[in-house]
C-alpha cells in the first residue's frame, strides 16, 4: 500500500512575532512494515536555521528557527510511504498462533523495553487502571485476544468528545472523565497495560479515512492520530487503536513513539510576541497512491 501524507499546520498571529523556534515530527525512514521513500518539509517564512535529527527513541524530528518578523507561520510535511501489509499481518498472526498468555509478556529483559513499564509524565500506574484492564486481561487469556477486547471496551465505555480534555490530561483523569480524544484513549490503554505489568508505548501517526458513502473525499479532511502499542517480548510490538476499536492494520502510518504524548508532539515551539494566536489550522491528507 502506498500513501502520500501531507500535514500542514498554519498559524495566524494577532501581532508581530519577532522570533520563533520549533520542532516538527518527521516520518521514520524505515521501521518493520513501513518504508518512507521521500519526505519534503516546507516552512514559511523560510527558517534561518533548519536541522534534522533522531531523538532518544529513534524518531526523526526537525528543528527550525525563524528570526524574521512574521505574523503567519505554516509548517508542511509531505511524505511518500509504503506499508507492507504482510509484515504487519504476519507479526499479529505469529503472536496469535502461539496463543501467548498475556502474563508471559510481563517478563522483559531488554533495558530499552523496560522503560515502557514505568510511569511517565501523563501516565501514572494505579489500582483503578489495573482493575479496568483486568476485565479484559483475565487469567491466562491470549494477549492478542485480550488487547482486542480492551480496544472494544474502551470504544464502548468512553465518549469521543473533543474539548473534554487537554493535552495535559492524564490517563487517570481520562478514567474519571470517561471521555476524550485519541491521545486520551491511547494514554488510558497504556496506563492499564503498565498497571498490569506490561510494557506499553504511545504511537503518533496517521489513519486513512473513508469519505461518507456517496460523497467525494474532501481535501484536508484526514487527521493526525494516536494509539497504543504493547510489547510482546521476543515477538514485537502489537499496536491497537482504542479510538476505532481495532488492532492497527495497513491503513495506519506510524510517525513516532514515546512513553506518552509529551515525548512526541507532532509540532511544538516557542514564539516571542505581545499578541495571541488568532487562528490555527491543521490540514492532513492521507492519499492512497499508485492504484
Amino acid at each position: 500500500m502506498k500513501y502520500r501524507v501531507a500535514h500542514t499546520t498554519a498559524y495566524h498571529y494577532e501581532d508581530d512575532v519577532t522570533s520563533s523556534y520549533g520542532q516538527v515530527q518527521l516520518v521514520p525512514r524505515g521501521i518493520p512494515g513501513q518504508t518512507c521513500e521521500r519526505q519534503e518539509v516546507r516552512i514559511e517564512p523560510v527558517p534561518a536555521d533548519y536541522q534534522e535529527r533522531s531523538d532518544f527513541f529513534g524518531n526523526r524530528f526537525a528543528y527550525f528557527e525563524i528570526s524574521s518578523v512574521h505574523r503567519d507561520l505554516s509548517v508542511t510535511t509531505t511524505s511518500w510511504i509504503e506499508i507492507s501489509t504482510p509484515a504487519r499481518r504476519d507479526l499479529l498472526g505469529a503472536i496469535e498462533a502461539t496463543g501467548t498468555p498475556w502474563e508471559a509478556a510481563r517478563v522483559i529483559t531488554e533495558p530499552e523495553g523496560r522503560q515502557f513499564l514505568l510511569d511517565s509524565p501523563l501516565v501514572t500506574t494505579s489500582a483503578d487502571l489495573a482493575a479496568y484492564g483486568r476485565l479484559s486481561f483475565t487469567d491466562g487469556r491470549p494477549i492478542v485476544e485480550a488487547l482486542d477486547d480492551l480496544a472494544h471496551r474502551v470504544h464502548g465505555d468512553f465518549a469521543f468528545k473533543p474539548g473534554a480534555t487537554l493535552v495535559s490530561t492524564t490517563a487517570q483523569e481520562v478514567l474519571l472523565i470517561k471521555a476524550g480524544v485519541c491521545q486520551d484513549f491511547a494514554h488510558l490503554v497504556i496506563g492499564c497495560m503498565r498497571s498490569l505489568g506490561l510494557a506499553a508505548r504511545y504511537v503518533s501517526g496517521y489513519l486513512e479515512t473513508n469519505p461518507p458513502p456517496g460523497r467525494p473525499r474532501q481535501q484536508g479532511a484526514d487527521v493526525s492520530h494516536a494509539w497504543a502499542s504493547v510489547l510482546v517480548p521476543g515477538m514485537g510490538w502489537i499496536d491497537l487503536d482504542p479510538t476505532n476499536s481495532q488492532l492497527v492494520n495497513e491503513r495506519y502510518v506510524v510517525t513516532a513513539w514515546g512513553r506518552d504524548y509529551s515525548d512526541v508532539p507532532p509540532l511544538k515551539g516557542v514564539i516571542f510576541t505581545h499578541g495571541t494566536t488568532l487562528d490555527l489550522e491543521v490540514m492532513v491528507d492521507v492519499i492512497r497512491e499508485g492504484e
Partner: protein, 891 residues
C-alpha cells in the same frame, strides 16, 4: 555577657558523649592538630572571639553576601552566617579525602558519559534500567550531548560526614549545578581578615589554585576550534537563593553574569545580547537546573532558559557545564551500585564509601528496608518522588542545588543535612509507616534506605562558650587536564541550633575549613598566568543589555533618593526653625516645602489634593512615610530599595566597595522603625559615597555611560520638578526669600550662590545659577552637557555630526535652555488671588524640560534595552481548545 577567663575557652568545651569530636578526643584532650589554634583561642578569650564574630558578620555584610530563603518577602536579603572558628583537617586526612573525591568524580564522569551515550551500563546489566529511566534527572532530549575533552562531568560537590568512630562517609553527590564553592571562597576571604595572624601561622592550604583550575577548566571545555572562548555564568536571577554566589563567581572569574533572556540562539549557536550587537558565547557555567534551561525541548513554561539551547549543545557549538542532564547522577539509588561499578569500570575499589544504602528496586534491598523501616533513613531516588512532594516530578525550584537543599519532609528534622522528601523511620507513627510501606511496595525502585550516621561535632562559638554542633563538609572538584582538582577544604556547615537540620533554608551556619599544610605554600595570585598576553575583551561586548539597563536605573534611583533626602532634610530643618508658628513667612515656607515634597516624589495622597490640608496641619506621619515606607512608590525608601535591586541586577559590573555602601544604606534606612534627622544624614552620606564610587572607581566604559546618563536625566528632572513646585508662584518677599534659600539648600548650591551674588536671594540670579550655569554641577545646563557626552559615547552612536534619537531630544532641551531669558522667566504674568501671582512661562518651560528628559530616557531604553517580547509556547493542534478553531481535530 559572662566574662570567661581566657584560658577557659577550650577547656570549657564539652562535646556530647558517643560522637566523634573534631577538636577533642574521647578523653577530652585537644587533638594534636588543634593545639596551636586552641592556644590562640584561649589567648583571645571569649569576648574577643565574639568581637571577631561581629567583625566577620560586618565584613560579610559589607560584601553583600546573602543567602535567599524561599517564601519570605522581605526588603533585606538574609545574611550568610559564618561561625568564626575554623574546622581543621590534617594534611594526611586531607590527602585521603582528596584522592577519594577525585576517584568518585572520575567514576561519576564515566557513568554520566555512558548514560547519555552508549548506555553500556544498562545493556550489560551493571545498572538496572528502572534506576535511570525512572529518574526525572534523566532527560531524553539531552541524549547525545557531549563536551569536548575527557570529562563530561565538569564540577562535582560531595557532602561528607564522620561517624562516631571518626570514619568518613559520603552522604550525597551534587552534580546538577553544585553550589557552595563561592561561599567557601568568600568565607576564606573574611576569615583571613578576621584572624590574619592565626591564618598565616596555621599554614593553611590556599584556595586560589581551585579558582585558577575553575577558570582554566572553563576555557578548556570550549570547542577546540575556539582560541579565546567567551564564557558566561547563567543565573536564574537575583531572587535565586544563591544569587550572591553566581555574581561572586562571575566577578571573581571575570565573566559576564547573564539570565536566560540575555542569551539567544541563532543559526544553531548561542549569543549574548550585549549593548552593540550579539556576542558569541562559547561556554556557559550553568546555575539554572537543566529542566528549566530550554522551553523548546525541556520545560515549556520555563522563563529562565533559552529556546534552542539543547539543540546548540547537541551541535556542540556551545559547552554548557555541568552538561544538560547531569542531574541524573543525583540519584540516591545510584550510590548502592558505586562500589561494584568502581571495581568494574575503574578496576579498583571505591576509596570512600557512601553511607550504607539499600536500593528497594532489588529484592534483597527491598526486604531489608521493609524489615528495618523503623531504624533507617528513607530517601526517594529523586527529590521529586519524596514523601509529601506532589505531582509534577520536575516542578522543583529552579535552583535546587543550594547547600543543604530545601526544606525536609514531615520527618525531616534530623541532623544529617538530608534533602527534601527524606524521612526518618523512627520518627514515623505506625500509620505513617504503613503508608510509607505501601508507597515503597508500589514503586520500590523509587526508594532507598540508608543507615543513620551520628555526625561528628565541631566547636562553634556560642554566647557562653564553645558549643558542640554536628557538622557536614561539602567538598568541590573541578575537571582539569586529565583529572580533577579538589578545593583544599570546602564548606563546613553546622546546625543553627542543637538538633536542627543542617540546611541553609533551616538556618544552618557555615564554617571555613582549613587544611593544614605540612610546609608553607608559595603565595600565588589568582590572576598570575603564564603564556602570551590574553587579548582584552571589547568593553561593550562584556556587558549585557540587561546589565546596562540596570546601571541606568541604578543611576536614576540613586539620584532620585538623593533628591528626596535633600528636600526632606531642608523641610525638617525649616519645621524646626518655625516650630512655634509665630513667623507667618516661615509657616508659609514650610507649607510650600511640604507641597513640594508631594510634587517632587510624585506620591499619592500627600500634602496636596484630597486630605492634604489635614496632613499639612499635622505632617509628622506623612513625613515618616515619605522617608521609610519602602512599598510606597516615590518615597526615599522605595527609591533605595529599587536602587538595591538595580545594583543586584548589574552586580557583575560594580566594584566590591559598592556593597559596603549599599549594605550600610540598607541598615540605616530599611531597618529603622522611625525616622530621625541623623538617619537622613547617614543615608545622604551613603548616597554621596555611591556617587563617589561611580565617578572614581568605575572605568568609563559603556556601562558607566548608562549609569551616568541615568543620573543626569534624573537630577535634571528632579531640579525642574523642585523649581516648579517652589518658585512658579510669587508670594510676599519674606516668604519667597525663605523659599529661595531652602531651594538653594536642597539643590546643594547655597554656598556658591552666596559667594557669587553676596545678596539676598533673587529669582533671576537663582535661575541663572540653577538653570544656565555650565560650571555648576547641580545646574540644568551641566546635566544636559554631561548627558550629551554620555549619549555620544554609547556604542551604536550614528557617528560624528549625526544624533541618536535620545540625543536629538536632549539637544532640543539644550537649545531651549540656551535661548532662555531668566529675566523674562522670573517675571510674573497674572494673579491667582490676592497674595500670589503665577509665573506661567517659567512653569511651562520647566515642565517642558522635565518631559524632554524623561522622553530621552525612553528613547535610550528603546535604542539599547531592546525588550525581549513575551515568550509563549506555540499553540498545539492537539490541544482541543486550539483545535476547535481549526478545521480538523485529533480523533
Amino acid at each position: 555577657m559572662t566574662t570567661t577567663a581566657p584560658a577557659d575557652v577550650v577547656a570549657g568545651y564539652r562535646p556530647p558523649a558517643g560522637a566523634f569530636d573534631e577538636m577533642v578526643d574521647d578523653d577530652g584532650r585537644v587533638r594534636g592538630h588543634w593545639s596551636q589554634v586552641g592556644r590562640v583561642l584561649d589567648g583571645l578569650g571569649l569576648d574577643e572571639l565574639h568581637r571577631r564574630r561581629t567583625e566577620a558578620a560586618r565584613l560579610l555584610d559589607d560584601d553583600g553576601v546573602t543567602y535567599n530563603v524561599y517564601g519570605r518577602n522581605r526588603a533585606i536579603a538574609p545574611r550568610w552566617a559564618l561561625d568564626p572558628l575554623p574546622v581543621l583537617v590534617t594534611s594526611e586526612d586531607w590527602a585521603r579525602i582528596e584522592s577519594a573525591v577525585i576517584q568518585r568524580a572520575e567514576l561519576l564522569n564515566w557513568i554520566l558519559a555512558d548514560l547519555y551515550g552508549p548506555r553500556e551500563l544498562l545493556r550489560r546489566g551493571w545498572l538496572p534500567p528502572e534506576l535511570i529511566f525512572d529518574h526525572p534527572g534523566f532527560l531524553r532530549p539531552c541524549d547525545g550531548i557531549a563536551l569536548p575533552g575527557a570529562h563530561q562531568l565538569f564540577t562535582l560537590a560531595v557532602d561528607l560526614a564522620r561517624d562516631a568512630e571518626g570514619r568518613t562517609w559520603v552522604l550525597a553527590d551534587r552534580t546538577q549545578a553544585p553550589s557552595g564553592a563561592g561561599y567557601a571562597i568568600e568565607n576564606r576571604v573574611v576569615m583571613s581578615r578576621v584572624f590574619p595572624s592565626l591564618y598565616r601561622d596555621a599554614q593553611v592550604h590556599r584556595l586560589a589554585p581551585f579558582v585558577r583550575a575553575l577558570r582554566s577548566g572553563l576555557q578548556a571545555v570550549a570547542s577546540p576550534a575556539v582560541s579565546d572562548p567567551r564564557i558566561v555564568v547563567l543565573t536564574p536571577g537575583a531572587q535565586s537563593e544563591t544569587a550572591f554566589e553566581h555574581a561572586f563567581l562571575a566577578a571573581h572569574l571575570g565573566y559576564s553574569l547573564v539570565e536566560g533572556a540575555d542569551l539567544v540562539v541563532q543559526e544553531g549557536r548561542v549569543w549574548m545580547r550585549s549593548l552593540a550587537r550579539l556576542e558569541p558565547v562559547d561556554v556557559i557555567l550553568r546555575r539554572v537546573d537543566t529542566w528549566f534551561c530550554d522551553p523548546l525541548e525541556l520545560r515549556a513554561r520555563s522563563y529562565l532558559g533559552v529556546p534552542g539551547l539543547v539543540e546548540a549543545c547537541r551541535r556542540a557549538t556551545v559547552s554548557v557545564v555541568n552538561t544538560l542532564g547531569s542531574g541524573v547522577l543525583e540519584n540516591a539509588g545510584l550510590v548502592a551500585f558505586l562500589p561494584r561499578l568502581a571495581e568494574r569500570v575503574l578496576g579498583e575499589p571505591l576509596e570512600l564509601d557512601s553511607v550504607p544504602t539499600w536500593w528497594c528496586g532489588e529484592p534483597a534491598g527491598l526486604s531489608h528496608v521493609l524489615a528495618n523501616l523503623d531504624r533507617l533513613v528513607i530517601k526517594p531516588t529523586a527529590r521529586a518522588f519524596g514523601w509529601g512532594v506532589a505531582g509534577d516530578a520536575r516542578a522543583a525550584p529552579p535552583s535546587s542545588q543550594a547547600p543543604g537543599g530545601n526544606g525536609a519532609g514531615p520527618g525531616g528534622g534530623g541532623p544529617d543535612g538530608a534533602g527534601p522528601g527524606v524521612v526518618f523511620g523512627w520518627e514515623l507513627s505506625a500509620d505513617q509507616r504503613d503508608e510509607l510501606r505501601r508507597r515503597i511496595e508500589a514503586q520500590p525502585y523509587r526508594w532507598v534506605g540508608q543507615d543513620q550516621l551520628s555526625l561528628s561535632s565541631v566547636p562553634t562559638l556560642g554566647e557562653g562558650g564553645l558549643l558542640a554542633r554536628r557538622s557536614l563538609l561539602r567538598t568541590f572538584a573541578v575537571a582539569g587536564g586529565d583529572s580533577y582538582l579538589v578545593m583544599p577544604g570546602g564548606l563546613t556547615r553546622v546546625a543553627g541550633r542543637d538538633g536542627a537540620a543542617i540546611s541553609n533554608q533551616a538556618g544552618a551556619v557555615s564554617k571555613d575549613t582549613w587544611v593544614l599544610a605540612s610546609e608553607p605554600e608559595q603565595m600565588a595570585g589568582v590572576w598570575l598566568a603564564t603564556g602570551p598576553p590574553a587579548p582584552a575583551v571589547a568593553p561593550d561586548a562584556s556587558i549585557s543589555s540587561r546589565s546596562a539597563e540596570n546601571l541606568a536605573w541604578l543611576g536614576r534611583y540613586a539620584e532620585r533618593a538623593e533628591g528626596v533626602v535633600r528636600v526632606l532634610r531642608v523641610t525638617h530643618d525649616r519645621r524646626n526653625d518655625f516650630a512655634d508658628g509665630s513667623n507667618p513667612a516661615g509657616t508659609a515656607c514650610v507649607r510650600v516645602l511640604l507641597a513640594a515634597l508631594t510634587e517632587v516624589t510624585g506620591t499619592d495622597s500627600g500634602f496636596t489634593g484630597e486630605g492634604g490640608e489635614a496632613r499639612m496641619a499635622d505632617p509628622g506621619d506623612e513625613l515618616q512615610s515619605l522617608a521609610i515606607a519602602a512599598d510606597r512608590p516615590g518615597t526615599l525608601a522605595f527609591a533605595v530599595r529599587r536602587l538595591v535591586d538595580a545594583a543586584h541586577g548589574a552586580r557583575d559590573q560594580l566594584s566590591m566597595d559598592t556593597w559596603l555602601v549599599i549594605s550600610s544604606m540598607q541598615r540605616d534606612l530599611l531597618e529603622v522603625p522611625s525616622l530621625e534627622r541623623a538617619t537622613l544624614q547617614r543615608v545622604l552620606v551613603s548616597l554621596l559615597a555611591l556617587a563617589g564610587l561611580g565617578s572614581e572607581s568605575l572605568v568609563r566604559d559603556p556601562g558607566w555611560r548608562f549609569l551616568d546618563a541615568g543620573r543626569r536625566i534624573e537630577r535634571g528632572a528632579q531640579l525642574a520638578a523642585l523649581l516648579r513646585a517652589t518658585v512658579t508662584v510669587e508670594r510676599d518677599v519674606a516668604t519667597d526669600s525663605l523659599i529661595l534659600e531652602s531651594l538653594l539648600i536642597a539643590a546643594e548650591s547655597i554656598i556658591t550662590y552666596r559667594r557669587r551674588y553676596r545678596s539676598h536671594a533673587q529669582l533671576e540670579t537663582v535661575l541663572d545659577l540653577m538653570l544656565l550655569d555650565p560650571d555648576n554641577p547641580r545646574s540644568m545646563r551641566y546635566q544636559l552637557d554631561r548627558l550629551l557626552e554620555d549619549l555620544r559615547a554609547l556604542p551604536g552612536h550614528p557617528g560624528v555630526g549625526r544624533a541618536s534619537e535620545a540625543e536629538k531630544i536632549v539637544l532640543e532641551a539644550w537649545t531651549a535652555l540656551q535661548v532662555a531669558d531668566t529675566a523674562l522667566l522670573a517675571a510674573t504674568t497674572g494673579t491667582t488671588g490676592t497674595t500670589a501671582s503665577v509665573r506661567a512661562p517659567l512653569a511651562g518651560f520647566l515642565l517642558d524640560l522635565e518631559r524632554r528628559l524623561y522622553a530621552s530616557a525612553d528613547a535610550l531604553a528603546a535604542a539599547h534595552f531592546a525588550p525581549v517580547l513575551p515568550q509563549q509556547a506555540l499553540a498545539t493542534p492537539a490541544d482541543p481548545r486550539a483545535a476547535r478553531a481549526s478545521h480538523g481535530f485529533l480523533p
